[in-house]
Structures are given as C-alpha cells and as structure tokens.
Symmetry: C2
Subunit: 416 residues, 2 copies
C-alpha cells in the first residue's frame, strides 16, 4: 500500500474521504421532542399556517384603524368597548364603526378589526370601574395591521420549514411542534466502532506494567463521536498481530457504520493498519499521511461507503485528526448539509509559534482574559502529552504556507 | 410585588440571580467514560506520574548522547546495536559506552540511555539483514533528553489535574483515564421543572381550536436545559388560575432543583406568576423586568437557593431570556467555575439595526458566506415568531448604550 503514501493538505484529504462516504440510507421517525442534535432526513413542509388566526402582540384594544385616524393626546378618538376577547377563545364579536374590543397579548382579533391600540395609549372614560360597554379615549392613531400578527406571518402553509440535512436545535424543535409535527424523520445515529491497538496498551482499569500505558484514545474519540451525534462502540485493545487486527476490524465493521483504529505508534504497527484497511474492501486506503502537525501519519480510508480511519497513537494527534476527519465523516453519514459552526475567538498571541511552510499546524492554546483583552497562550508540548489538551481551551491554526506566527499577532482560536 | 418592578441591565440581573442560587450539595461518583459534559465536584489530583517510565517519541535507537557528540554526515559516529526494546516491555538491558538499543515510538528507554536518535538519521552498516549485535552509523548528534519523554513530563504526582467546577471535555476524560481514574466525582445533573401557563395553550399533539396555540416553550427550554447539562421535567400546561398555578409550582419545585414557568403573555397572567413566585418561599421575586429586547417582562426569582424564572410567553423572548438566566443558573447549580465559552464569529452587517439607548438588544441573524467574507443578515420579525430563530444562525448583540448598528458595521454574532 506504500503507493498511497502521498501527503495531502487537510482540506483536500477531507474532501477525498467524504467523496467515498455514503450517507446512511435508512432514516428513522422519532418524537420531535427527543430529536435535539439529530439531522433531518428529508425537507419538512408546513402542514398549516402559523398562526392560524390573527393575534394581538399587545395588551390593548382591537379597533378599526380608520376610527383612530388623526387621534392624539390633544384630540383623542372616542371608542365604545363592547366586550373582551378571552384567551384561547374565538373572538366571536363583530365591531361596528366606533367600537373596540379588549384583547390580551396573543389573543384573537375580531374579523371586523384590523389593528390593536396598546393599552398604554388609551384612557378609560369615567375611571377604571364597570363592565361593557364602556368608553375609552384613544391617544394615538394606529395603522392597519399595527400590533397584529397576520395569519401565516410566521409560516405559510406548504413552505419548506427545514431543509434535509439540518442539525436540529432547540428552536427547530419548537418550530416543528408549533405546527403539530410531533414526529420527525431523521438520520439514524451512526455507530462508530473504535479499536485500540498496541502491545503496550492496557485498559484504563489495569495497572500498567513496565513499558505499558493505559488506553485513552478509545475514550477521547468516543467523546468526540458523541458530540458529533454518533454512537461509539468501544471494542477494546487488539495486540500488534496482523491476523488478530484484521479479524477484529472485520468484526467491528460488520456491526458498525464507521471504523476507527487508534494505531500503535510505531512504524511497523502503522504499516500493519494500512495493510488491514487495504484488505477490508474497496477502495480501502485513500491516503496515508496528511500535511499537518500533529498528526502526519494518519491513515484515511473507506470501505464500501463507510469511513475507516487509522489514527496516530499519540493522544493529541489522535484527537486533532479525529476532529479533522472523523467528525465531518459522522455528519456526512447523517446526511448533514453542513456541520455546526465551530466557535472561534480572536486573541493576542503571547509567544512566537514556529511552523514550516507546506504544513498546517495546530497548536493548543489557553485563553486568558486580561485588561488588555483576550490572550492566547500556546501550550507547547510533545503530542504524546494529553495534558497539553487538558490545559488548553482551543487550537490555534497556523495556515498551510505560513512560516509561523509572532508574539503579538491577533490569532483566531478555535474553541474545543 | 410591584415594588420589585425595577428594570436592571442583564449582567447585573444575572449576578443578582446567581447570588441567590446555591450549588447542589450532593455530588455523585460516576464512571469517567460516561462523564462527558459533567462538572467536577472536587479538584482532582494525579495519583501517579505520567508517564511512569521514560519513553521514546521516535522510532530509532536509544543511545548515550555523549557517544554521538560531533557526529555528522561526513563524520558519523559508529555504535553497536545490542538489542531491541519490545513494546510494552521493560527495557531490560544496560548500554555500555558505544552501545545502542533499537526502540519504537512509545517504547521504554534503557536506564543507561539518555537520548534517542531517530532512524532516519542513522544508517546500518553492512545492509539491512541480520540480528544483534550489529553496527550503525549515526549521522547527526543528539543532546541529552532529545526525543525522550521524561517520567512525569505529562503530569507530576500530586499535581492538580482538574480544578473543581470544570466542565469535562473528551480530552479531560482521556487525562483522567491515563492516570487510572476510572471514576470521577461530579455534580449531579440539576432537575429543571418546566410549567407552561396560559388558557390559550394546548399540547403540541392537540389540534388547536380558535384562539388556541400549541405549547412550544416547554420544548425549546427543555432543549436548552439538556445543552446546559440539566434534566428537563416537562410538567405540562396549567390554566390561568392562581390556585392551580400555585399548586402546580409547589409540586414542581418539590421534585426539582429549579423551576421555569413559561408565563402566559398577558399582563394579568404575568402578575399572577409574580404572585405565585412570591408565595413559594424566600427570597421569592428578585426582579421583574430586564433591560433587554426581546424579553423585558422576564421574572427572575429564587426560592431557598433554587432558581425560579417566569419567562415571557413569546417563544423568541423565552429562548433568549432562558439563555441569559436559565443556562447560567444550571451551570451554577452544578458548581461550574465558568460556562463553556460561546462560539462567536465576526460578520459584516447587511442592514441597519435600530435600537434604543439604555437597552440591550438581541437580533437574530443568518450568516452568509460570500466572496466578500461572512455577512450577517438580520432576521427581523416580531418576537412571537419562532421561525425568526429557526432561520437564524445566531444573535447580534446591540450593546446597552448604543443607539443601533449600521449596515456595513463589523458585528459579532453569537452562535446558537
């Protein structure tokens, strides 16, 4: 597979991967109230208007706007209030010229009214007591439609309310439920199998012997899978043995939609991972090596429309590379048109960050609020050191063909 | 309660609320691998070094650095390779001067070695075949410690690895597991009771009659509660009746850590909510009214250390106000030292946004990527219209004492 040992820039590498990933074909219909973070499987249309009746946006009086023409503090219009529209009821009254109806915010406007005068712009004639009818002074004119939400002003019937491939947020659930759409078709959550390899790796619950370390990549990747909407399947640790690794990979892929191998860190184990991916099916390994630091020796592949990744063993590289390839792949499997935008902040760099041209660097950084503004403090450390990420709030990206960044530069920090 | 009808700026109002909220006193110990998004209940200390042995960061040869002094392409150092350190094994060999050991990335360094020469900077004398011992040429000198991770370089024993009140991210889980901390003490997830009120409100599954609308605030708020780490308890719709609302609020608060009432939108119902909160316990209503748009008539209160909110009935106001008060309160209940930073992007405003001095405005905006950069398109609409938020990617904040924003201004958009 060494013919694939070409090193692509990250954007091209990701595009290559996604071209070989097929979105899941079997959506499911679930309760809208449980659909937070899920991805719409089809475009959704409004089955009705919203609202279905004309509503007041104010506490006040439904009126015929023409009756308030020219009204002002010095020359109020006098109207006869003939009744009150109860909340949650049909307006059920017809206003004749010179008449008004008491309405509350969200209440229905009588057919014969076309505007609402807010209560603060009126004065009751003869004091607060008494029932209907009674008289009010209108101290300000209103235009037709003022303080009224029209039928269909929020949504017109038949309108596309959400496109396919939309990641559902709280307000989207509200928008669907407002229209009575209590169920929604969404992509199922992709199952992501995670295998750790390496003769030196033991489970977190074990006491490592000399030369041994605990598996952490399975769990950091599982966390990233959950954040992207997938279901992680942590399948344990496989020894550095070709037949064992191949058997574990075949079994994992048979029960999942995506496979991630946290490869051992030595060259021989990486080569073994490349060979295993090559034997899983077509197209197999798409590329081996990405022009980034950390994370160059990442293996990117696909098997029958399913993403297969071989991550570097170093925990920092593994997380950054999974963010670069794994997260977009999970959204792609769900048919998402776009991923949720990453939060970014601008901050002043406190130290020089060297880089090499032709490589995209990601440097963990801690943010510090100061009187002089937000500072980005690079957290330097070998990519074997998970605590460089624990201490960081985000990543500074050093673009592909930029020799580095200077202390005092304003840099964009991508938040975790 | 009308003596509380003072209108505070949002930051002061939030500080006032949080001063009256008590963090939950009963943390729980859970599996670290399930702790994503949870908040640490105590500071966590490293029970051991990480790593516990000196590891190589390269595939290459463990050496005594002094043996490579002055080595270069034209004058290589010759070393005798006496064996290989297997992955996951003790190094188990002693290097004498002039000797080296083959090591892999992550492998243990023999006690007698103090640096690693990467394999690319060596050449095997006499070709690739053969076992040990064999001779190599070292083509580049290494310094003491080069390509070696020292014991405790990632974490020293006893170090504070995470403070109390830290919201756990994937890398934090990895950091804990690397040290064998398979369980972690975290705040329990606050239970947030949600009551909808309003005679006009029916459940989403019902067909609204004339003048009726479906409850959506219960579900948008539930989504926001989940995002902040809480457990939403949607308790249904209460009619506009003081005794019924008070009974429902008392029952809800008895089984939860926080109470949210999505108040009916009319003044009389808001006043009823204020009275109910006033009767739940001390201190009750803290303030009624916040200097923001949308959302001015928000009711902020606390009862015996638990937050109690009365949100405006309008769905846009309700979401924005819950984000402003409810989300910080949920993190505060969990003892979080800080909330996860909101993502923000800078974009060019496409239209004027009017505002009033003395008020903080939040305007929903859609983002558009163009050749000229990122544009922020305000989504104008009455705050009754949930689809203004569905169409938006985030909120533009118009600061408290700024008369408005102009088309062409560079504005910060807070992402949803």
């Amino acid at each position: 597979m060494t013919e694939f040992f070409n090193v692509l820039p990250p954007d091209e590498a990701r595009a290559l991967l996604l071209r070989h990933v097929r979105s899941l074909a079997d959506p499911e219909v679930i309760a809208t109230e449980s659909a937070l973070g899920r991805v719409t499987a089809t475009a959704l249309l409004a089955p009705q208007s919203l609202p279905t009746f004309r509503r007041s946006t104010m506490d006040g009086y439904a009126v015929r706007a023409a009756d308030t023409h020219g009204a002002g503090e010095s020359l109020p219009a006098f109207l006869q209030v003939v009744g009150e529209v109860g909340m949650g009821r049909a307006a059920g009254m017809a206003l004749r010229p010179g008449e008004a109806a008491l309405v509350h915010t969200g209440g229905m406007i009588p057919d014969t009214a076309d505007a609402v005068v807010q209560v603060e712009h009126t004065q009751r004639v003869g004091g607060p007591a008494g029932g209907f009818p009674h008289e009010i002074e209108v101290l300000r004119a209103v235009a037709v439609g003022q303080n009224v939400i029209q039928v269909g002003e929020d949504v017109a019937p038949g309108a596309i309310i959400l496109p396919a491939g939309h990641v559902l947020r709280p307000q989207d659930l509200g928008g669907l439920l407002a229209l009575g759409l209590t169920e929604a078709p969404v992509a199922r959550r992709p199952r992501v199998a995670i295998l750790a390899t390496g003769d030196e790796v033991v489970p977190p619950s074990a006491a490592p012997g000399p030369g041994q370390i605990r598996d952490i990549n399975s769990y950091t990747v599982a966390g990233q899978v959950i954040q992207a909407g997938g279901i992680p399947q942590v399948r344990g640790i496989v020894p550095d043995d070709f037949a064992a690794l191949r058997a574990a990979a075949v079994a994992a892929l048979a029960e999942s939609d995506m496979l991630v191998m946290s490869a051992g860190s030595s060259v021989s184990v990486r080569d073994m991972t490349v060979r295993v991916i090559g034997e899983l099916g077509a197209p197999g390994v798409l590329l081996h090596g990405v022009a980034t630091r950390p994370g160059k020796p990442t293996i990117v592949g696909a098997v029958d429309g399913r993403p297969v990744l071989g991550l570097p063993g170093n925990p920092v590289s593994a997380m950054i590379q999974f963010d670069m390839f794994g997260v977009p792949a999970i959204y792609h499997l769900q048919g998402a048109a776009a991923m949720p935008r990453h939060g970014r902040v601008w901050a002043r760099l406190t130290q020089n960050v060297p880089s090499e041209s032709g490589r995209e660097d990601y440097v963990p950084a801690r943010l510090e609020e100061t009187d002089a503004g937000l500072l980005a403090v690079p957290v330097f450390g070998k990519s074997n050191l998970i605590y460089t990420l624990v201490q960081a709030d985000g990543l500074i990206k050093v673009p592909l063909n930029r020799g580095g960044l200077l202390a005092g530069d304003l840099v964009e920090v991508r938040l975790f």
